[in-house]
């Protein structure tokens, strides 16, 4: 495969034996070389032909430039005062990033720097932890290019005043562009932060992003994470958001997928301390040929943890939604409360939803529930609205918006929530 040769060349050209990440990267390159790209015969990739995204014309771009005007044109509304982290073609751009919270609260630096300074111990301990849950080729491939990544530390006892918004730009003007962002977050003890990610394909061509973000939340931390995907029909994505609770803390994630070609999101909540609480919410509103695949894992290793998960899908035209929700309750994780629900509405005659709850429970005193639905809009509700003079189209928009709203309500940041609501309302032609 030409793409493998190109990746091999790209890896070799960026190899830097003096980098503190060198060993990590070359080990992972070997892993990738051994595993290759996931195939659909692999249960985890059954519905998602990720290999198709790794086409031979994939360009591993390096020297692109981003101008400030492009940046501001794609800024999320209401985030003028947010901390801003910018990636271009998978590489952290310190010069384009800006911070409102002071360095006593928030420290952001290249991952490569962090791997060689006072944060080295943390990096060594936690970088690559997601691989335990996703021992596949593309996780390793991302790791092999980790030197372009970023390290984010929220200091002990500090609450960030502003969210951290991470913009991932991929410049596809020179062909099918490939980005591999890597992020490691250290949310220290009793810190509070909100981290958001959004993706922009500039240049009008095709793009592929293969991302890994690993977040460690320490004792008493509160961590909100929002991922907004609306890159357009030419952009594919595979990403792992790996959230690890090192102590009793609260972690909360919302994933919105509004467009894309082939989208795969892995979201992990690894609950390693007693009394942890985690929330996972997702909404995929798809049309055209978009495939969005959400694989989630909640791993309960210790007793008395609580997790709640709700994913909703609205699937129009020929789009496909995939949901796989794993919940592990380990032997010691007594008194676990874990809830999971996935609801899908099929609008298009050729749309499809594949949903699979997967609970593996090794403790005997736990409360776990799961449920999934795939259906059409409620005919009784539709008739009720129409019987009040509301047109069929408007009634449908109203019901779909109502279906989506409880996921949107989970976005804590008001401006982002309103922005997401606006995007969804526009898509549903919902004007209330």
């Amino acid at each position: 495969m030409e793409v493998i040769n190109n990746l091999t060349k790209a890896f070799a050209s960026q190899e830097n034996p003096s980098s503190p990440l060198h060993e990590f990267q070359s080990d992972n390159w070997k892993t990738f070389a051994g595993l290759g790209l996931p195939a659909i015969k692999h249960e985890e990739w059954k519905y998602t032909r990720i290999r198709n995204a790794y086409a031979d014309n994939l360009v591993i771009a390096t020297n692109a430039q981003l101008i400030a005007a492009t940046l501001s044109a794609h800024q999320l509304p209401g985030t003028d005062h947010a901390n801003r982290i910018v990636f271009l073609n998978g590489r952290y751009q310190a010069g384009l990033s800006s911070f409102q919270d002071d360095s006593a609260s928030l420290v952001v630096k290249p991952l490569e720097t962090a791997a060689g300074d006072e944060d080295a111990e943390f990096v060594n301990l936690h970088l690559g932890h997601s691989q335990k849950y996703h021992p596949d080729g593309i996780n390793a491939l991302n790791a092999a290019f980790a030197a372009g990544g970023v390290y984010i530390r929220v200091n002990k006892g500090k609450s960030l005043n502003q969210p951290v918004v991470i913009y991932h730009f991929t410049d596809s003007s020179n062909g099918y562009a490939f980005s591999q962002p890597r992020i490691l977050v250290n949310a220290a003890e009793a810190s509070a932060a909100s981290i958001m990610e959004t993706y922009v394909n500039i240049g009008g061509g095709e793009s592929l992003t293969n991302e890994v973000i690993e977040i460690c939340a320490a004792q008493d931390a509160v961590l909100h994470y929002v991922k907004i995907q609306n890159e357009g029909a030419k952009s594919s994505h595979s990403g792992t958001s790996h959230i690890r609770q090192l102590g009793k803390c609260l972690t909360h994630a919302v994933t919105l997928t509004l467009s894309g070609k082939l989208v795969r999101n892995n979201l992990n909540m690894v609950m390693e301390a007693e009394h942890g609480e985690s929330h996972m919410y997702g909404l995929y509103l798809l049309n055209g040929d978009t495939l969005a695949d959400n694989h989630t894992i909640v791993d309960n290793a210790m007793p008395h943890c609580f997790s709640n998960e709700l994913y909703k899908g609205i699937l129009d035209e020929q789009s496909t939604g995939v949901f796989n929700g794993k919940i592990f309750v380990r032997k010691d994780a007594q008194k676990t409360n874990a809830y999971q629900s996935n609801k899908n509405i099929l609008l298009g005659d050729h749309a499809s939803a594949n949903t699979k709850p997967q609970l593996e429970i090794f403790a005997d005193d736990v409360k776990c529930s799961h449920g999934c639905t795939i259906g059409k809009l409620d005919e009784d509700a539709l008739f009720y609205l129409k019987a009040r003079g509301i047109s069929e189209q408007k009634a449908k928009a109203l019901l779909l918006h109502a279906f989506a709203i409880d996921i949107l309500d989970q976005i804590q940041h008001e401006a982002i929530r309103e922005y997401a609501d606006k995007l969804i309302s526009e898509r549903l032609s919902f004007d209330f």
């Binding site: 009720y384 019987a387 009040r388 003079g389 509301i390 408007k394 109502a402 989506a404």
Partner: protein, 253 residues
């Protein structure tokens, strides 16, 4: 206002309405009574345009237009209103926004300017008094977690807001205690005028103590088998539906 001629309808393969004839003039209140399964609710649903039912014969003229040719939403905008027997709970849709949309869709259809926020609020406050409904209820999701009585009051409130020409109340009394029944009936009576009409579908006579009908019809096995004045309702209450059944059997022998 409404002229139903030989209306027949079925659901799947089951014939339910087997030739209904009924004429309602402006200013009138008609009551349709009948035992369970006689087709009362089917008639209400067919008139409102529920698609589960297939009209197999007959005609319905509403204000000079062919009602059966109209979509449910156009029927509503032309001035037909169905108060549902089982109002649907719709989480995530605010009651106030829903009613505002409905009111303005109707106004648009009639070539009127939409109500602005202030006008809408003013109208809403007036009508809220009428059906003794609380603001807190209207700020909640549509019917979600409402008690039976609250749902029915919300139906009457919507009716008040939409000012229909013909309102069909489908067993609005079912599940209501006497206070709620009085409130609902009171709302209807205040909305009554020489220009509008009501079709009250009920199993029991007790609602008719509060909403006094001009005409009472008895529906049985998909046909109107008796029509009369309010005394007919009293007779039914006293003798029960078996009395009608027995009489009909005598006639057919």
């Amino acid at each position: 206002m409404l002229k139903i001629e030989n209306l027949q309808a079925r659901i799947e393969e089951k014939e339910i309405l087997k030739g209904i004839n009924l004429e309602i003039k402006p200013g009138e209140i008609h009551a349709i009574m009948g035992p369970n399964g006689s087709g009362k609710s089917t008639l209400a649903s067919v008139l409102a345009g529920r698609e589960d039912y297939e009209v197999t014969g007959g005609s319905v003229d509403f204000l000079g237009k062919d009602l059966l040719e109209m979509s449910p939403e156009d029927r509503a905008k032309e001035g037909l209103f169905l108060a549902f027997q089982y109002p649907v709970e719709i989480p995530g849709v605010s009651t106030t926004n829903f009613i505002k949309t409905a009111v303005n869709e109707k106004r648009k259809y009639l070539g009127q300017e939409p109500l602005d926020a202030a006008q809408f609020l003013k109208t809403m406050k007036e009508k809220m008094k009428l059906v003794e409904i609380d603001q807190s209820l209207l700020s909640r999701s549509l019917n979600e977690g409402f008690s039976g009585g609250e749902k029915k009051r919300n139906e009457i409130f919507q009716m008040a807001m939409l000012e229909p020409k013909l309102a069909i109340l489908d067993e609005t009394d079912s599940g209501l205690d006497i206070d709620a029944l009085r409130i609902v009936a009171n709302g209807v009576n205040q909305l009554r005028s020489k220009d509008n009409a009501f079709l009250v579908v009920t199993h029991y006579q007790r609602l008719l103590d509060y909403i006094v009908p001009d005409f009472v019809h008895v529906l049985y096995k998909g046909k109107i088998v008796r029509s009369g004045t309010k005394e007919l309702a009293l007779e039914l209450e006293e003798k029960g539906y078996d009395f009608i059944k027995a009489e009909l059997e005598k006639e057919t022998v």
